[in-house]
Amino acid sequence: MIRFENVFKRYPSGREALSGVSFNLERGEFAFLTGPSGAGKSTLLRLIALIERPTRGTVLINNQNTARISRGRIPPFRQRLGVVFQDHKLLHDRSVFDNVALPLVIAGASRREIERRVRAALDQVGLLGRESHAPITLSTGEQQRVGIARAVAPRPDVLIADEPTGNLDPDLSREIMELFTRFNEVGVTVLIATHDLELIEHLPHRQLKLVAGQLAADSGRGGS
């Protein structure tokens, strides 16, 4: 589902964020991307979301070579991808409902479909009934769950998250990880970047460890 083949990413400053990274994440797999900050975790996720392009090598998402996706084709590509951010990236001038509905509105869902899916997504993250609230009135953990609901509302094939528990205490973090596990159980491919090894050590999922832009360890299946 997510396949990296000898991927390099060098920034104009000369810093090499990724050096020859190769791995393959099968459809329906769940993996953590670990490593110290600055190891290239965020860069790797940005290549998947086409926020950046690799300097060299190939990134295949769902068997599609991302190098062949032109700028104009990026929006439909991103519509099939769920992305969760450490800072939630919620829009504070609209309600929880409108935040979660945003990708559905963009994708052109009917009003009834939007209502149904927003409710379903909020139900899954345990925030049903808070539709009309402003994000700012919610706690950080709740805001992160709104962010997750927004990412899963369009039922993406792939869900990627960059330090989704970065600002949360251990209990909330565990809840969030359980959420991701549940989405994975219904077939969503999940890749989560985190540096919180304590949180994930008791979880059975595959771990990809990045050190200084290179894949230092891969605990799991798939193969490269």
């Binding site: 926020i51 991103r78 099939r80 919620l90 963009i106």
Partner: protein, 305 residues
Amino acid sequence: MDSLRHYLTLHRQNLLDALRRLASQPFASSLTVLVIAIALALPAGLRVLVNNAGALNDSWQGAADFAVYLKIDVSTENAARVARAIGGRPDVANVTLIDRAKALEEFRAKSGFGEALDALDGNPLPHTLVVRPKSGAAGDVEAVAAAVRAIPETDLVQLDTAWVTRLRAMLALAGRMVDLATVLLAIAVTIVVGNTIRLEINSRSVEIEVVKLVGGSDGFIRRPFLYLGFWYGLAGAGAAAVIVAAALLALEPPVRAVATLYGSGFQLAGLPLREIVLLVVGGAVLGWAGAWLATARHLKAIEPK
């Protein structure tokens, strides 16, 4: 069918959202609208003035007419015969004979020189013909005048077309200047809207970034700003129409006073409906265009990081 409905729904939402956004910051919005309104009112107002001057010119279309004074000793029958002869010419539209007796009566009644006239013996006024050539062009009028001058009964042909020609040339010049002002101020309106939209884009860069991240296309992101520009232009043009109407209302009494002094029934004409529609549609289009330029220039710069 479904996607078309979705498209239309999105447009309607963008339209209303943009209006709400304007209403949510009434002071800033009104300032922008007012600037646009003044920029549009200027050419619209000048246009009205030129239109009115043109109407005045049209009402003087009769200035191609010229007066023919017959010799004082020409009899009434003879004058009528000459009038028929001139009226029969193919290049003459019509000829009016002003009988010298009638002319005297009229002069006595209107001029206030009645007593002075009584002091004269007999009627000092000749028979007069008012000739209207078919064509108002200076050369054609001159040709008719020359032919009339050759008639032995003619004493004097009074032809005064030069000032009409000059007035027409001045009006054409004024019209052209208004055209130029219109183009310049239209550019100004586009820039004002474009700059306002640029600021709006900057203040909403977080939102734009998020929408791009969840798969919003350029069109999806651009539309709210285009509608914002549309409302600015529309509101500005509407306000401009009101400004012009108010200015005309203020000018109306003094213009009527002047017209009365000249014994004219001239009335200041407002913007005709067609031009109001043109103004409002033009304003909306300029607003849209300004927003288009701003989005084309600035939206690409905001990419997710």
